[in-house]
Each structure stands twice: as C-alpha cells, then as structure tokens.
C-alpha cells in the first residue's frame, strides 16, 4: 500500500442535557436564593455536612431533613492560581459547625490570609442566582 495524504477529521459532539437536582440539592439551592445556607445531618452517625447532601459522605446512610446554618466560615487552607483578570484564591472553608469542608473562592489578598480566619459569604446582587449566589467568601473585618 502506498502512503497517501493523512486526513484529520474535525468533528463536534454537540448534545443538550437536563440534570434533575433532586429534593435535597434543590432545597439547598432554594436556600441560596433566599441568602440562606443549609446543611444535613446523618441520621446514623451524626456527621454534619454543609452544603446539604442526600447521603452521608462518611457512612453512606440517608441524611435527615436540611437545617439552616449560620453564614460563617473558617479558612482551613488556600491556594493562589493565576487568572487572566488577576489571580484567584481557592480555599477549603469549614462552614458553620460542619464536619466537612467546602471548596470556594476567597476574595482577599492571599498575603493577609491566616489559617482559622473567620469568613463571611459575599452574596451576588442577582436575585435569581442559585449555585453562584455566593460570589466568594471574605474575611470578616473587625469593627
């Protein structure tokens, strides 16, 4: 066989999707539209998760109904990543008295951050926003 010109086929896979959130996630997202953060407690082992989850991340049992929590976070750890519109700080934040930590953005100069620092949510002005309702977390300024 003689070698011929090799072709490259440029193709797309373009598909629409619609994901059902489910009751627990829906209740959590609904809370965000009302500026409320919600968690769930495992009915079996007591593990408290924020954000709310349908199943316990430790023992996989069903969780009990969602609870509203204090909109207060504590900084566990963070990293600075370059971004075209300035660097971003991604952080692991323990929300209220959760047993887990959540990944979110922190809006602050990384040089001023300290482990255990208290954080508050910075809400977006968009009243329709769900998962994007918290734009970022920021250090609570002492008054």
């Amino acid at each position: 066989m003689t070698l011929s010109e090799e072709l490259i086929l440029h193709q797309k896979i373009n598909l629409p999707y619609r994901y059902t959130a489910g009751t627990v996630t829906e209740t959590f997202l609904e809370g965000l539209t009302e500026r409320t953060i919600r968690g769930t407690r495992c009915a079996a082992c007591g593990h408290f998760s924020v954000p709310a989850r349908p199943f316990c991340p430790v023992c996989s049992e069903h969780t009990s109904s969602t609870e509203d929590v204090e909109p207060l976070g504590h900084l566990e750890s963070w990293t600075e990543t370059p971004h075209e519109s300035g660097s971003r700080v991604f952080a692991l934040i323990r929300i209220a008295d959760a047993d887990n930590v959540a990944l979110h953005l922190v809006d602050a100069d990384p040089n001023t951050l300290e482990e255990g620092m208290a954080l508050e949510p910075q809400w977006t002005p968009d009243p329709e926003a769900e998962i994007t309702a918290i734009r970022a977390w920021r250090p609570i300024r002492e008054t």
Binding site: E5, L7, I8, I13, Y19, T20
Partner: protein, 157 residues
C-alpha cells in the same frame, strides 16, 4: 422549584475533536474528494471485497492487500424512511425528516454501507433496486462520507 416543576439544570455540551482518519480512510476519502471514486480492499483468504476498506477482513479475519475501485452504482440491500427526528450531534441540529436511509452494496463489493437515499417515499423503494451515488460538486468535497450527498434510485419500483 416545586414538586410539579422540579429543578432541572439545562446545558449544552459541545466538544471538539480532531480524529486522525488513519491510512485506510485517508486513502479512500482522498480519492472520494479528488476523483469522486470509491474503493474497497479484497480479503486474501476468503476473496470478499470489503467497503469500508480495511487491513483485516471483517468476515473471516484474513489479511487484505488489493485495493479495487467499487461503485458508484450499487444495490439496496435494506432500507427505511426515517420519520422521527433526532439531534445530529455533529451539527447540534435536527436532520429534517422524512429521509430515506439504506444499506447499499456497491457494485464490485461484497459488504454494505449505510447511507441516505434521495427517495423518501417508502412505497417507492424495495430491496434489490439499483442506485447510484450522487456526489457533491468537486469544490464542495472535503474528504468525508458526506461528500456523497445520497444515493439515487435508477429504476422504478
């Protein structure tokens, strides 16, 4: 967000790929694009002519070595008229219905390819009808199976 109207998160996934066609498809597609000619390979073991051309026979597993020109005429070996639309993921749009769709055995080949038919009236089609490939004009051919617009029937049912 209510029990009657649960939250559904809607989005479109749009992925772009660049597939290497490989030696066999490249040779076939280049001849299709440049000369409007179709080719198959012959199995050294069982002698069948395979379209798409390939290095190993799909029927007996034997090696192939000869390339042969096949078509552009052929025979309908199975057919339908599709009346249910679906989104073609290559374009993100629905292909208009109805359209004829068939197995075609190109003259000189022993295997069949799926392709579209110009005829979209089911009662005007039958197995065994002679057809001929309708090629796009040379300046519109890019080296894909879509360089064949469809197959036109050469006889009345």
């Amino acid at each position: 967000m209510t029990a009657e109207n649960p939250l559904r998160l809607e989005y479109v996934a749009n992925f772009e790929y660049a597939y290497a066609a490989g030696r066999y498809a490249s040779r076939f597609m280049t001849a299709l694009r440049d000369e409007a000619k179709l080719h198959g390979t012959r199995c050294d073991e069982c002698d069948v002519v395979l379209v798409p051309p390939r290095p190993v026979c799909g029927l007996c597993g034997g090696a192939t070595s000869d390339w042969l020109e096949v078509g552009p005429t052929g025979t309908i070996t199975g057919y339908t008229v599709v009346e249910i639309p679906f989104i073609d993921p290559m374009t993100g749009r629905e292909r208009p219905v109805p359209y004829g769709f068939a197995f075609i055995r190109l003259d000189g080949a022993d295997t069949n390819i799926y392709h579209f038919l110009e005829e979209n009236r089911h009662d005007h089609l039958e197995i065994g009808m002679s057809v001929e490939a309708v090629f796009k004009p040379p300046d519109e051919r890019t080296g894909t199976m879509a360089d064949i617009v469809n197959f036109r029937t050469l006889q009345e049912k």
